[in-house]
Structure formats: structure tokens, C-alpha cells
Amino acid sequence: MVASILPLHLTGLEVHRRGKRLLGPVSMTLKGDGTTVIIGPNGSGKTTFLRALHGLERCTHDAAKWQADEETVRARQAFVFQSPIMMRRSVQDCIAYPLILAGQGKTNARAAAAEWAERVGLSAALTRPAHVLSGGEKQKLALARALIRQPELLFLDEPCANLDGRSTREIEVILADARQSGTRVVMSTHDMGQARRLADDVIFLYGGLIHEAGPKDAFFSAPKTPETRAFLNGDLLP
């Protein structure tokens, strides 16, 4: 077993853009297992937080402490964007691409891609151009592409936004499987039902700060602050 890149310790993580603070300061520890779900109103910083953790945002220097060197950390995590980015290639080549980047032979990579396509239910679409897929299929492709390198840590930014119930269910099954096989999942969602179904821990972001966080059961049954309560009730927050 390769040494883990987790836990991740954050100390005073901040993201600024054009002189405005979008996130932070955030201090917390991301432990090595389970699924963490980030919730919060629009503009509370969910996407920024995920992107900052994944290294896509310029943020406070030295705020994040991983358990491995940068190259390992970068190589062992993956990200699924809210609107999946489809390369102008076939479904199979899209899924295989991360393996090709990692130096695998084309034949191997394509075989592995076919396997992953099967797991996410895209077998029938293997040779189709990725960009003609439906929204749900694109999201499944993005998941397969993220999982094919078997990342230790997987980020997902509202993976089921704009998807119908059936696609959402299929994706949740894939995510539950990934968690079972030991992938650490960190995701954001607007769907409280989804949060309850998938989360081990919940983080409530509000105004760019962690307003409240804790294990799922305690969080949903006994929210500590009036804002969390209001948000969970579906009230509008100022």
C-alpha cells in the first residue's frame, strides 16, 4: 500500500480574486476516509473551496499541508466539474486519456476505458463522439475518466445538477461504489436528499466560511446555529 496523501490539514486557507476575499480563512482537517458533502447557498464558496483544495485556485501559500510531495498529491486526486468538459474525441478515448497521460500504452488504456465505460453504463456509446452525449451520460463519462486512475481523493462539484432522477441515482450508485473501494469523496450539492444519502460528514459553507461542520446524523438532526437550521428548512438566507 502506497502511503496516503491524507489527512490534509488546512490552516487559514484564503482565496482572493481582484482584491475580494472569496473564501476563508478556512482551517480544518480532511481525514482519510468517508464522503464529505459541502452544502451552502449560491455564492457561499463551495466551488471555490473544492477548486482550491484541488489546486485550481491561487490561494494562501502554505495553507494546505498534505502527507506527500506535490507531484504525488497532484497525481492521486481527480476532479469532476459541474458542467463536464468533453474533449473532441470518442467516449473511449476520453476515458482513456488520463491513463495515456500517465504513460500507459494505447491498447491497455483503451481496454481499461472500455471496462470503466461498462461500469458507468456507457458501453453502447464507446465509439460515439463525447460531445453528443446527453447531460447524464457526459457526467458518467467524467466520472469514469476521474476514476480510471483510481484516485485516492475525488472531488465533485455538484455532479447531479441539471440531471433527472434516474441519472442522479445511477451516479450516486457509482459514487457509493467508489467510496466502498476506498476512494475519499469530497463533493458539493444543492440536493439535501443526496447529502443525506451519501455523506459521512457535512460542511455547511456560508459567506466563504465554514459555518458549521460535523458527522451527518448530528448535523441534520441537531443543527447548532439558526442559519444552518434556516438553510435546512429551505428558508432564504440574507
Binding site: 484541488h54 485550481l56 470518442s90 497521460l101
Partner: protein
């Protein structure tokens, strides 16, 4: 008006009779322009992609310069290449002056900025689309350039063809560095200039029509080639 009809008739006659001189200069035109296109693409496409994904201090200046170079007057390029390749010039010992190779060199200089600039535009859009994914996948710079070049190949084909179009129709530079020598460096455009100079408008026009037909044929051929490719559906 009458001259144009005569030109068309003459063009038809030359083509139908497989006129050996016409075939020779047509093939040479193709050889020079395709050679220039291939070399200029090998330089210009990766450079355009590199320019699209890199942020550096002089970037705007380089892009402005590239766009300006697109308008390089071929005669000036021809003159400069002539001076460089002349026996009295720095590369005179190579003995390249008045050879098709010299013509290719001049055309590469003329069309590389054009190809690089169009490639840069196309790749910049694709990069905006791919940016987050390629960063997330922890790609190296050269992996990014390769992915963008491969996935942008349809747009880049257009860039190369634009370069070819400029090359095949160019006369000012290749006239100077090639010398329009019969059976050695005469191509369609220089032959047209020669025949126009003689007042042989019908023949000049006929060659012109052959040139246009050739340009169209090459464009169709390249597009057909790219369409037969399995994953070429977008």
C-alpha cells in the same frame, strides 16, 4: 470579356491534351507549395498552440508582431532570401539560389506567421474550453500542446490550407529567389506573370484557371482525407 472566354477555352485545351509543360509546372507548383505548407505547419501550429497556453510578459507584443508579419510583402521576403542565399550572401555556399528549395524557404517565411496566427486563434478557444480539465489532470506543457493540436486538428487543417492558399498564389518572392527558369523553377504563378508580360492574355488566363482549379482540388482533397478519418466527425 472575350479574353476570359479565350482563356477558358485555352485552359480546357491544355488540360484535355495533357500538355507536358503544363503538367510539369503544375506539379512543381504543388511540390513547392505543399512542401512550404508542411514545413510551415510543423513550425507554425505548435508555435500557435504554445502561444495560446503560455502567459509571459511579451506575449501581447509577440501576438501583435505575428499578426503584422501575416502581411509581410512577399517581394520583400523574396529580396531578403535572395540576398541571404546569393553566392555573395551568408548562405551562398549552399548553392540554393534559383532552386525549388529556395522557393520553399521563401514561402515558409511568408506563410508561417499566417498559419501560426490562425492556429493561435483556434487553439486559444479550445484551451479556454479544456483549461480546467488539463490542469486538473496534471498535464505537462507538451502534453497540453499535443492534446490541443490533436483535438483542434480540423481548425488547424484550415490554418494549413490558408497557408497553402497563400503559397500557391504567391509570385513576388518565388520570382526573385526561383528566377522563373524554364524546366527548373518555373511554376504556375511565375508562368502567368511571364505570359502576361508577353501580352499572351489567353494563355496567362488559362494558367490562372488551372491554378484556381488546383487550389480548389487540394482543398477538397484535404477535407476528404480528414473526413475519412474514423473519429473525424466533429
Amino acid at each position: 470579356m472575350n479574353d476570359i472566354l479565350l482563356g477558358l477555352a485555352e485552359a480546357a485545351r491544355l488540360i484535355v491534351s495533357f500538355d507536358p509543360e503544363l503538367i510539369e509546372i503544375t506539379l512543381r507548383s504543388l511540390q513547392v507549395s505543399v512542401g512550404a505548407m508542411v514545413i510551415a505547419s510543423a513550425i507554425g501550429l505548435p508555435f500557435g498552440a504554445w502561444l495560446a497556453i503560455n502567459r509571459f510578459r511579451m506575449r501581447r507584443v509577440v501576438i501583435a508582431l505575428l499578426n503584422a508579419l501575416m502581411g509581410l510583402p512577399p517581394v520583400v521576403v523574396g529580396l531578403i532570401v535572395y540576398i541571404l542565399l546569393s553566392r555573395s550572401g551568408p548562405f551562398g555556399v549552399l548553392g540554393l539560389l534559383f532552386t525549388p528549395t529556395a522557393m520553399v524557404i521563401a514561402q515558409v517565411i511568408i506563410i508561417t506567421p499566417l498559419i501560426a496566427s490562425i492556429a493561435h486563434q483556434a487553439i486559444r478557444e479550445l484551451w479556454a474550453d479544456y483549461h480546467d480539465l488539463l490542469i486538473s489532470l496534471n498535464t505537462t506543457k507538451s502534453q497540453r500542446i499535443r492534446a490541443l493540436l490533436w483535438d483542434g486538428r480540423r481548425a488547424l487543417l484550415t490554418a494549413s490550407l490558408a497557408g497553402f492558399g497563400r503559397a500557391i498564389g504567391e509570385v513576388g518572392a518565388i520570382m526573385i529567389v526561383g528566377g522563373n527558369i524554364d524546366h527548373a523553377t518555373r511554376v504556375l504563378t511565375t508562368a502567368i506573370a511571364l505570359e502576361t508580360g508577353k501580352g499572351e492574355f489567353a494563355l496567362a488566363l488559362a494558367l490562372g484557371f488551372v491554378l484556381i482549379a488546383l487550389a480548389i482540388a487540394v482543398n477538397f482533397a484535404m477535407h476528404a482525407l480528414s473526413r475519412t478519418e474514423r473519429s473525424g466527425r466533429w
